[in-house]
Subunit: 120 residues, 4 copies
């Protein structure tokens, strides 16, 4: 598969909106809001689950579909935001990982409760 | 560029966390929370901006960097969530676009205030 | 009306949860998550509305009810979080306003895009 | 203490904004966004904490102050939103609790994972 899939997906998203005359709604402010709403819908799925229940959320077809669906929604708005703002999302992440590899060298003392961790 | 970039990025994210012994924090619940926090940080950049100011946020190097940085953070947690849950994010979005093309056929009456639009 | 209403509401919320054996879910982490989910549901109501449409959201009985309902949900989780953590929400806000009156004296130069404003 | 504290707080919040000419920013859309951003800042405090660490977050003066501060910020935006929209927040919650007491009678079968619970 090619990274053209990201570009292809962005193109399909743009065509989808354009064909329905919906780009008028796709201002950066509205897109970041929509993204945050979808992110909250992802949180909602896990909200009352115990860690054990969370770990097996993909074992049940219904919850697996809900999670996958919300992941798609978050990605949709993220890619549309990037399209509108001219941001290359994958390049942005690659650059961030590199910066973090500098900021958080392996073997340095790790904060007990890292304010952020993972590649951030 | 290839879609291997998504897989490469996921691998680098996993290696980054692993090398710092941070995967212990990367439960699905924590990852969706972290994703929602980053999405809110994106919202925050635009919060008090007018539509005009929002439209030119990428013209200023400092705000452009902030936006790109938060986009990277959102994508980082989304991809790590997908890794942990075994979800193919691009395939999920492609499937969602197809379902939405069925649900919202062009030419049907559009709701005045669409509850959701774009590929959702 | 008395500020006892806040205490009364907290008591009724606690009794409601207790009678249904739901306090087990009301850990601080779960409560802050739930609060953020309800806040996003509030955002969602306004998401695609223009400023004009937003301004008249309380004129339509259906959207007025939705907004009021989500305000109630946000307040419910905020008060329950405060109950669980032993925080006096009104006192916290009063203290914050005072600190902000010091931090943002009237007549000093205001940032063009205040990072935060209002009593924050 | 009287419920006038809520009204007093709303008045002080309005005066604070007015004195700095900040009401221009306080559209309903901006206020719900700001509220969601503050709610995310609350989530962020707890994000990587274990349940045990979360339970003792108020024992450490620094984290206790952070939590109290964000609670104040969430409440500030909620009350300002209610002021702008003409919503009585405490009455809204009281009404919601009553409706929920009908919707979720004690003794009926509780869903194992309630989609919502507490007074919602």
């Amino acid at each position: 598969m090619t990274d053209l899939d990201v570009k292809q997906l962005q193109r399909r998203l743009a065509e989808f909106a354009s064909a329905r005359d919906w780009q008028q709604y796709h201002t950066p402010k509205n897109l970041v809001s929509a993204l945050s709403v979808e992110a909250a819908e992802l949180v909602e799925i896990f909200q009352w689950l115990t860690p054990e229940q969370s770990a097996s959320v993909m074992d049940d077809p219904e919850s697996a579909h809900r999670v996958t669906d919300e992941v798609a929604d978050v990605l949709a708005y993220l890619l549309q935001l990037c399209e509108v703002l001219g941001i290359d999302a994958l390049a942005a992440l690659a650059g961030k990982i590199e910066r973090n590899e500098q900021r958080f060298p392996v073997g340095s003392a790790e904060p007990k409760i890292p304010r952020r961790h993972s590649a951030e």
